[in-house]
Amino acid sequence: MTAIKLIDVSLRDGNQSIWGATGLNTPQCLQIAPLLNRAGFAAIDFIASTHMGVAVKYYREDPWERIRLMRARTPNTPLQFIGVGFRFISWETLDQEVMRIVYRCLIRNGVSRFIVLEPMHDLEAMMATAKMIREEGGEDIVGALTFTLSEAHDDAFYAHLTREMAASPNFDSVYIKDPSGLLAGDRARTLIPVVQVEQGKLKFELHSHCNIGFAPYTYAIAADLGVKYLHVAHGPLGGGTSLPSAIPTIANLRELGHSVEVDDDAVRKIDDYLTRLAKAEGLPSAGVRDFDARFFHHQVAGGVMTTTKRQLEEVKLGHLMPQVMLEVDRVRAELGYPIMVTPFPQIVCTQAMFNVIGKERYAQVPDQVIRYVLGRFGKPARPVDANVLDKILARPRADEIRKEPPPLSLKELRGKFSAGLSDEEFLLRATMPSDQIDAVYAAGPARRSYNPDARPVVKLLEALIKRADTPQFAVSKPGFSLELRSGATAAE
């Protein structure tokens, strides 16, 4: 019998998996904040730099303001930020001292929990990042064991990582991050105990996506084995390619004899709110994903597969798809088994495609692959195949990329903007077009409330007004009727 606590990922990972990270704005987050705080979650997976960019670009909202306002409404539940490497909003790598300012601002504005994620598991980089976050005041630093199936990533591999993190003063938790939902049955029963042996003072959490339908059952196994922290999502953001849905997960765990410490009423209301929001905004539901054996093979997210197929078809080579899939395996091994988390599925698939349709293997190599083998994304689990490495580095383009200057230092980057800027504004201007930042400040403070029930009326009005050809309109269904009149027809 395990006493389970939940981490809600709806607003960040759920939003990212199902709604492309563009599904939620500040008022929509704030509206549900009091209930999220009441539910009793161990943490709220709230934001990543992608979402901060979306706030600026799509919603003209200040992401720092969103964090502050959210924090004010969730004083009892830590807010989590997930970062990958030394990147913030834009694709360019930032200097370490600039990254320090990023963490400083996140903490200052109300984030206290940080995921340290290195898909290559570059331990040196993970330790450096964790140390920096701790120095800036991070309270719950979570190291990610990113799960994948490969000969390089066996139980011993993850045990070693856990041991190192447990020995460091800068980690508080470890979690198995399973972006493709591959951790199942037998493997879960060996891997989880191995991590538990090494976890020491660290909290141990499980975060598994439902891509091939395993995660809900893996959660049950984890609970049976004594894992106390599980990541879930609510409403239309639960299930599918996102995390397991909260309500059935809670029911299952209780059915199996475990206890789940949450306020069920709040959970129901959160679920209901997100469902009504999705309906009001026309956003999709996660749906249910069935077992798909191909996943074990390529471990590539559906989206990348579809794109690759389309690209082949565009050049009338769609029939080569099976060969490309086989080539994906080979390229992945040669590149040292990168975990298939963005951007690596794209990198591997693109190279596999070029290898199949090109004159010979590695005749054509995109820039990202060159950067990869140069170690710009970190050190892979296994070294890059020596022959492949030589072939790629012999290219003149490799030389050019090698000579690319390192990222600007903090001083140099600061120098590009006016002196009086707050750290928060500086970071936004350093990573996004200035006219977008100007628009955010011009838009003023964000709205703080959102009502999903009002949206259908608003959207209907917007549509009718746009059409401009309907002087009278009436719609009626049980419990709802709406009439619009104009001019002479607006009778007293």
Partner: protein, 450 residues
């Protein structure tokens, strides 16, 4: 303790207001209603309704035992007392808390410190706030000596009074004894406390008040309001910020309010009232209201805060979740109190049933009301029907927008003071802003003359 169920021990527009925030936060709202309010708008909006007693306030809204018993029966976690009624009653707050419920308001110590006007003055003096020259009196000789010191005209105020009640003006020494005697008798009858004190009467004074919120340690300043447009000490029009006060003076007033809150270890929402002398730019502490005020929406309008939400958050967590840097004030907001009274017939109250109610709507317009088609205005309570709050980028825009908004109001079934508001909003003195507390009386007098 997690807050889930909130019992609202009040009625009318403030009950509706509190219920709206409860809806927003996913909290269950339980309305404690008297017999006369069982079919009110608040009763229709609340998740649950509990009858607390007969129509008469003393048997319902002012009945401590009835309110608490109803809240317990409804399995509430907290009681929100609104304003008026028991909201500043220390005995009530104590009873609520000792029965295991959360009282959404200040501590008993806070309530006791500022409920008694003389004690409040004492605390203000200790906190270093400027006071209008004055003091307590216990015999006629003292009274004459003090009056001579203060100068005439002066005010005699009831210690147990408040909300504009228990005030009399004395213009000359010859009137002193008789007026003081009368004041003592009335104070005893009305408040059960015969104590009175004298205070300088400022000829051209403005009623300026500071909104604060504290958690016992930290006190935040949420800006000023001006409530000078009053009739017989009852506010009619309020606005935020207070216009026409030099920046340095405004800063000192706000700092004084915060200092007072800190001195008291104040917990919750509170308003520190000052008398601002238009001519000398000096300000004096008057009293403090330890509750949410009727006119709180104008502060909400310029700060973006939901003050009821802040009250509930404070009651639940015991700590402020905002910091001073979260409080950014912008724009100008003005509120008109629409009352059920016939202002052309000496403000005769006009209870009854509203057969039709049309209110303004649109950008920058907010209407807090319990009135809708078919709503009744019982004769047992106050005459406040609605608060029309309008926000503009600046005062001129707010005034123009408010005037246009007030003109949209159509109420059938009862008389209202709508046209008085329209007359005031078109009056050049009001439009210029920064009128004093004598303004409305003078305005009405001028109109009365043929």
């Amino acid at each position: 303790m997690t807050l889930r169920r909130v019992f609202i021990a009040n009625r009318g527009e403030i009950a509706v207001r509190i219920i709206r925030t409860c809806h927003k936060l996913g909290l269950i709202s339980i309305l404690g209603a008297s017999e006369a309010d069982l079919n009110s708008t608040a009763a229709k909006l609340a998740d649950e309704v509990v009858r607390i007693g007969p129509a008469r306030s003393s048997e319902s809204y002012l009945n401590i035992e009835a309110v608490i018993e109803a809240a317990l029966r409804a399995k509430a976690d907290a009681i929100h007392p609104g304003y008026g009624f028991l909201s500043e009653n220390a005995k009530f707050a104590n009873a609520v808390r000792s029965r295991g419920l959360i009282f959404t308001g200040p501590t008993e110590a806070n309530l006791e410190a500022v409920g008694d006007k003389l004690k409040a003055r004492g605390h203000a003096e200790d906190a270093g706030l400027p006071l209008a020259p004055g003091g307590s009196i216990s015999n006629p000789t003292d009274a004459r000596a003090l009056a001579a010191k203060i100068g005439f005209p002066l005010l005699v105020k009831a210690v147990g009074g408040g909300g504009g009640r228990g005030l009399k003006r004395i213009d000359a020494m010859s009137q002193l004894d008789a007026t003081v005697d009368l004041a003592i008798a009335e104070a005893n009858a009305a408040f059960g406390d015969p104590r009175v004190y004298l205070e300088r009467f400022v000829a051209s004074g403005r009623h300026v008040e500071a909104q604060i919120i504290g958690d016992g340690e930290t006190v935040l300043d949420v800006g000023l309001r001006d409530c000078s447009v009053q009739r017989r000490y009852q506010k009619l029009i309020e606005e935020a910020p207070a216009p026409g006060i030099p920046a340095a003076v405004e800063a000192r007033i706000r700092q004084a309010a915060v200092a007072f809150g800190r001195h008291l270890g104040y917990f919750g929402l509170g308003t520190v009232e000052f008398l601002y002398d238009r001519q000398s730019h000096e300000f004096y502490f008057l009293e403090m209201n330890a509750r949410i005020q009727v006119e709180h929406p104008v502060t909400e309008a310029i700060s973006g805060l939901d003050l009821v939400e802040e009250q509930l958050a404070l009651a639940e967590h015991g700590k402020l979740r905002l910091s001073q840097s979260d409080i950014r004030l912008r724009g100008h907001a003005i509120e008109c109190r629409l009352n059920a009274e016939d202002w052309t017939r000496d403000f005769r109250p006009s209870p009854g049933t509203v057969t039709r109610a049309l209110f303004p709507a649109g950008p920058g317009i907010r209407v807090d009301t319990h009135i809708e088609n078919g709503a009744s205005i019982p004769p047992f309570y106050d005459s406040l029907m609605a608060k029309i709050i309008v926000t503009g980028a600046d005062r001129a825009e707010a005034v123009a927008r408010l005037l246009s908004a007030m003109r949209q109001i159509e109420i059938e079934g009862v008389a209202t003071n709508r046209d008085l508001h329209i007359a005031l909003l078109t009056n050049s003195d009001f439009a210029a802003g920064a009128v004093d507390t004598a303004y409305l009386a003078q305005f009405l007098e001028a109109r009365a003359k043929p």
